[in-house]
Amino acid sequence: MKTISLAETSVRALNGQLHAQAAECSEREWRITEPDGRHAIACGLDQELDVRIAGHAGYYCAGMNQKASVTVEGTVGVGVAENMMSGRVHIMGNASQSAGATAHGGLLRIDGDASARCGISMKGVDIVVGGSVGHMSAFMGQAGRLVVCGDAGEALGDSIYEARLYVRGSVASLGADCVEKAMRDEHITELGALLEAAGVAADARDFRRYGSARALYNFRVDNADAFSGDGDGQ
């Protein structure tokens, strides 16, 4: 295992070394110490690396990850694992806004809470949140699955496309075109497998499912009221 202290090495130098592994992988296991909330730590990885960050990370930690497994032993700022393509990112603490934004694939696990816009514009990623998520989560979610073991804030799934949302606790309100759907056997099976893959001990039967009503997929004037509400959530 290679250990790098960000008190001694710049983020640029660290990311340069991690990126170099994509061309010729000489070190698979990395431990990053003294991250102290720095931004863009371990972003743009494109190799099957195992990176552990011993502390708190700032914005865009593990952004656009491909193949790598990144664990943060602390909290993270805005946009953790944004646009992740594959691999696995595990946050042992809480996450700020836009966790997993626009991510196409892979698994993002957050042990604590995630703030607003968790899974915004998600495009295929699986996100499992041990705690609660803030408002506008899964906004314009296109594909993938967002699992919330706690509660969801206002306007969950606003303008959602085909992402699938599972929430165990309460939902403050649903956004435009997002509706509760029946939790059928296949969904319990699917969710159970996802919880197991994420390493989260929870019973899939305790969750409720939400998704798109598909009423706004093509404009019809009769639906105009659906997006003429009180404008909360922003």
Binding site: V11, R12, N15, G16, H19, H39, A40, C43, G44, D46, G58, Y59, Y60, G63, M64, Q66, V78, G79, E82, N83, M85, Q97, S98, A101, T102, H104, R117, I120, S121, K123, G124, F139, M140, Q142, A143, S159, Y161, E162, Y217, N218, F219, V221
Partner: protein, 440 residues
């Protein structure tokens, strides 16, 4: 009406002209605002309202065709290890695969590469055809992040963070369901046949301070090699340019309200944003006040049609211009030779703006394979290259006449305005006077 009465004796209302009457009737029938492509169609203050002061006694002209007048430009050398080196100061604006056919994207790449300039992707991601035929390619990083892929960030020659578009500042994109092919749907991770709305705001940052950190992430992912531009729709230009510079942009792309679009609400196209003529001086002022003029390059777009427009934009302080609609026209959009085809779908050559409908007879703004096949990418590329060469030669001719050995040496002092409005916006004197409205 009495059949014996001549139509010319009738008086059309200025407030309720035929277009307005038609639009009210159309809205009442359909219950939806008009959506179309192209750009603003009404008269706007534009470069036509400016004139060059060719050299006579007080300035010394250069000989046309014979004396050298350089045209090269470097974009993005503020932080990037590998800035763009272009042979001409005219680039191809971002236009998406989805809005345009694969043949059109290929033709744009061929034409631009032939004359040493770059093309730009659009909403929906990068295609292999586009990368393969564009020697230099700018990858747009858009709010929707449709098809966003870090491999494409690394494969691009520059990255353009798009905050707005001149035809619709504050508005997102629209790709109507009828244009969603299997490939488009797959690229954008959306079902077939639905209207694809592109978000109007970026999902993972909410202000200029966040944007600075976002740009830092993009630089980290690309190992600080690629120039990063910020594209804004001209509206609050002065402040937006200052914030773009503060956020770390290598260069700024400023799109005026005459800019084209593939599909958006007409009310946006005609009523939101400001003309590029008014926006450039605001942008230049912002850059100058930060001592960043020419250090953070300014690329302007929105209604560039001729070498005179190129020269005027650069004289006002731009480092380069970008063309969209004009490039499509060069490929064959609205070609009179296809007038019968246009009429069959309820339009006419010169008027066609239903880019969103996917029925483009020229094979440019369509995903229909049969229509797309009408556009020969090689021929289209040659036509675009010709047009780009003409734009450049025209701008050079004007620059020489103003005594400049490089196009970028054109300056506001070379210009006068024909109208008080243009004089005030462009901040150059009214022709025959030393008066600039607002400056005493």
């Amino acid at each position: 009406m009495d059949n014996s009465q001549d139509a010319w004796t009738l008086r059309e209302s200025h407030s309720f002209d035929r277009h307005t009457i038609h639009e009210i009737q159309r809205a009442a029938t359909t219950g939806i605002y008009d959506i179309r492509g192209f750009g603003a169609k009404r008269a706007l203050p534009h470069f036509d309202d400016l004139l060059f002061l060719g050299a006579s006694m007080s300035r010394y002209p250069l000989e046309g065709y014979r004396e050298k007048c350089a045209t090269d430009v470097v974009l993005g050398d503020r932080f990037a290890e590998a800035p763009l080196h272009l042979d001409i100061p005219v680039t191809i604006a971002g236009m998406s695969f989805g809005a345009l056919s694969a043949q059109a994207k290929e033709a744009l790449g061929r034409g631009a590469s032939a004359v040493g300039t770059c093309t730009t992707t659009g909403d929906g991601g990068m295609t292999d055809e586009e990368r393969g035929h564009s020697r230099q390619l700018i990858y747009q990083y858009l709010p929707s992040r449709y098809g966003m892929n870090p491999d494409h960030l690394r494969a691009a020659d520059a990255i353009e963070v798009v905050l707005g578009q001149g035809a619709k500042p504050g508005g997102g994109g629209m790709l109507m369901g009828q244009k969603i092919s299997d490939r488009i749907a797959q690229m954008r991770t959306l079902p077939m046949g639905i209207d694809q709305r592109s978000a109007c705001r970026h999902p993972d940052w909410t202000g200029p301070d966040d944007l600075a950190i976002k740009i830092e992430e993009l630089r980290e992912i690309t190992d600080w090699k690629k120039p990063i531009a910020i594209k804004i729709g001209a509206s609050r230009t002065y402040y937006d340019v200052k914030l773009a510079v503060k956020a770390g942009a290598d260069f700024v792309v400023l799109d005026g309200m005459q800019g084209g679009t593939a599909a958006t609400q007409e009310v946006f196209i005609e009523h939101v944003g400001i003309p590029i003529l008014a926006a450039i001086p605001q942008a230049v002022q912002a850059l100058q006040e930060m001592d960043m003029h020419r250090k953070v390059q300014l690329v302007v777009s929105g209604g560039i049609r001729s070498g005179a427009d190129v020269a005027k934009a650069m004289a006002l302080g731009a480092d380069a211009v970008s063309i969209g609609t004009a490039a499509l026209i060069a490929l064959g959009c609205n070609d009179p030779r296809r007038d019968a085809d246009y009429r069959r779908i309820g339009s006419a050559a010169g008027f066609y703006d239903d880019y969103h409908a996917g029925q483009d007879p020229a094979g440019i703004s369509t995903q229909d394979p049969e229509l797309g096949a009408r556009l020969d990418p090689e021929l289209g590329g040659r036509r675009l290259a010709n047009f780009l060469r003409v734009l450049t030669m025209e701008a050079q001719t004007i620059a020489r006449a103003c005594g400049k050995s490089h196009i970028r040496n054109l300056e506001p002092e070379d210009l006068v305005a024909l109208s008080i409005e243009a004089s005030a916006m462009a901040r150059v004197p009214l022709a025959g006077t030393e008066w600039i409205p607002g400056r005493g």
